[in-house]
């Protein structure tokens, strides 16, 4: 179908390419758009609406829910923990996976085995590692035995401030492979000619890394950071299965809090908190875009 204007075709040159493809794309989109609207978009808009209503009776209460949430001690703790986890994990993951990608990219043979190895944790279900993690990180577990062997102090890794560290480790273990593949694809997008001419100009390895590799990876950095942020919320699975709904306070995160509010039917607080979380996530993405996205268009 062509875009119809009232004018006879003879008076105007045929427009190429056509402005729109008519109804066909909407027919392709229809099933998905319907499902997404009902099951994703509508619930989100409803959550925004409910954040301004009282849980009982549904009266409009303005910003009261937001005030209650921001004054809530549990929310403050959970928000702080989530922020701290994100701020520690994402830079650590990005740096570590970049190192992996550079190392894996440098080996010629058996590159496939290393890629498989580092992607493997993605395939290991959360539920399968629960018992193993307990055996390793419990007070009487394997890791403490190892520490005792080399003379370092033992810790209760699953129920102390150190639990945070265990969760960080788990997140890195699970996600390093994903980010490594992102980096590898970013590295392959840098034209080799750049390195060759730099080598001719006498640039050393360090100079080539800082002048060519890092700037060339800038667009990858943005998407890797956003996808890592997205995946960081899923660490709740590990945390929940290993430590339950009320873990040590160092890893009590927004996901725990929201889950508990959900079970207690605190819908007003939950919706206000959820909107704040969505805003924070969007804000973080926009901030990353501002910091890193400009490298896209020279």
């Amino acid at each position: 179908m062509r875009h119809k204007t009232g004018t006879p075709p003879a008076e105007r040159p045929p427009r190429l390419p056509p402005e729109t493809d008519g109804a066909a794309p909407w027919l392709f989109l229809l099933p998905s758009l319907t499902a997404v609207s009902v099951l994703v978009l509508l619930p989100f808009l409803d959550a925004v609406r409910r954040s301004f209503l009282s849980a009982a009776g549904g009266r409009f209460v303005g910003l009261d829910n937001y005030r209650a949430v921001l004054e809530n001690q549990a929310f403050r703790l959970a928000a702080w923990n989530t922020l701290r986890f994100t701020a520690v994990c994402i830079p650590l993951l990005l740096a570590f996976s970049l190192l992996l990608a550079l190392l894996v990219g440098a080996v010629r043979e058996r590159r496939g085995i290393f890629k498989t190895s580092f992607l493997l944790p993605m395939a290991i279900p959360v539920a399968s590692i629960v018992l193993l993690w307990k055996a390793v990180f419990h007070e009487n577990g394997l890791f403490n035995s190892l520490l005792r062997l080399i003379g370092l102090p033992e810790q209760n890794w699953l129920d102390s401030g150190w639990t945070f560290g265990v969760l960080v480790f788990t997140y890195l273990w699970k996600n390093a492979g994903y980010d490594m593949v992102l980096w590898l694809s970013g590295l392959s997008g840098i034209p080799p000619a750049l390195y060759e001419s730099a080598a001719l100009d006498g640039a050393g390895a360090a100079q080539r890394f800082f002048r060519i590799t890092l700037p060339g990876l800038r667009p990858t950095l943005f998407t890797a950071a956003v996808l890592s942020l997205l995946n960081s919320f899923k660490v709740f699975r590990e945390a929940y299965l290993i430590a339950g709904g009320y873990p040590h306070r160092s890893i009590y995160m927004l996901q725990h809090l929201f889950n508990n509010w959900f079970l207690q039917l605190d819908t007003d607080k939950l919706c206000a908190g959820a909107v704040l979380l969505a805003l924070a996530a969007a804000g973080a993405a926009a901030l990353l875009q501002g910091l890193l996205g400009r490298g896209d268009r020279p």
Binding site: V38, A127, S128, L142
Partner: protein
């Protein structure tokens, strides 16, 4: 060297799980008792079981109806989710990748934003919508929202957009309509993208935890991801076998689909 050491760190859990699942019930209880609160001293996890036995596997496969029920629950939720993602997502991705129309940019941006929403943001409202539709506490409460996830659409758009325009134009010149072009050019050439979405979707939903926890009250409907944590010294051997068994489907998908997994990850990182 460094790489080999790191790779070993990754393989170790897998090895321990498989070897652990061959420990007899007694050995498992003795080795892991200290971390399960039934024994003093330190836990041990032998690199190879002292008395390897298939006992736990036999017990799991022949004498654990609960495990089987949850294993099938998982399958009955994951496969429909992934199939739904392809059925809904592939045509939508085709439209977003290959057509020009008003609102294309808007729909695409909306999909990306919704993809970034953490599950917990819409938990209550999703529950209420599903409840209105009469779907809570049924498998559809997991399947339908999963199928409507926008991440696979986002992924497939990248693959469909990379198909050379000359091919679709040639099909159009041969008189193929939009639907025929999609079925005969888009689907075959976009197959790697679809498979990428399938592999990533499978690995994601095999681990689904938030959704069943919130939407399924009836524990008889729970998937395997919620079965394993209830472990005691008595059932440690069987739980180890169950942990290893739960690993098999995603591991197979991973080993056969690694190429597509990598392609999918790389595509998720492309800039627009």
């Amino acid at each position: 060297m460094v790489l080999s050491a790191l790779a070993a760190l990754v393989w170790a859990p897998l090895w321990l799980l498989l070897s652990g699942s061959l420990m007899g019930a007694e050995e498992a209880a003795r080795s892991l008792g200290p971390v399960l609160g039934t024994a003093e001293g330190a836990a041990v996890w032998p690199l190879l079981p002292l008395y390897p036995t298939l006992g736990p596997w036999v017990e799991l496969l022949l004498d654990s109806p609960a495990f089987f029920a949850m294993f099938w629950n998982s399958c009955g939720q994951v496969f429909p989710v992934v199939a739904g993602q392809v059925l809904l997502g592939a045509p939508a991705a085709w439209a977003l990748a290959r057509f020009r129309f008003r609102g294309r940019r808007l729909v695409y941006t909306l999909y990306v934003l919704l993809m970034l929403l953490p599950f917990q943001v819409t938990m209550v409202s999703s529950y209420l919508v599903l409840d209105t539709l009469g779907l809570t506490n049924t498998v559809w409460a997991i399947i339908l929202p999963g199928a409507a996830s926008t991440f696979p659409v986002f992924l497939m758009v990248r693959f469909f957009a990379a198909i050379p325009a000359a091919l679709t134009e040639a099909a159009a010149l041969d008189g193929a309509g939009p639907l025929q072009t999609f079925l005969h050019v888009g689907l075959p050439l976009g197959a790697p993208g679809i498979l990428s979405a399938v592999v990533l979707g499978f690995l994601e939903y095999w681990n689904a935890l938030e959704q069943p926890l919130a939407f399924l009250k009836d524990k008889a409907l729970w998937p395997l991801s919620l079965y394993l944590p209830a472990v005691t010294a008595e059932n440690a051997g069987r739980t180890l076998a169950a942990s290893a068994a739960a690993l098999i489907p995603p591991l197979l998908i991973f080993l056969f689909g690694q190429k597509y997994l990598e392609a999918g990850i790389a595509a998720s990182g492309l800039k627009d």
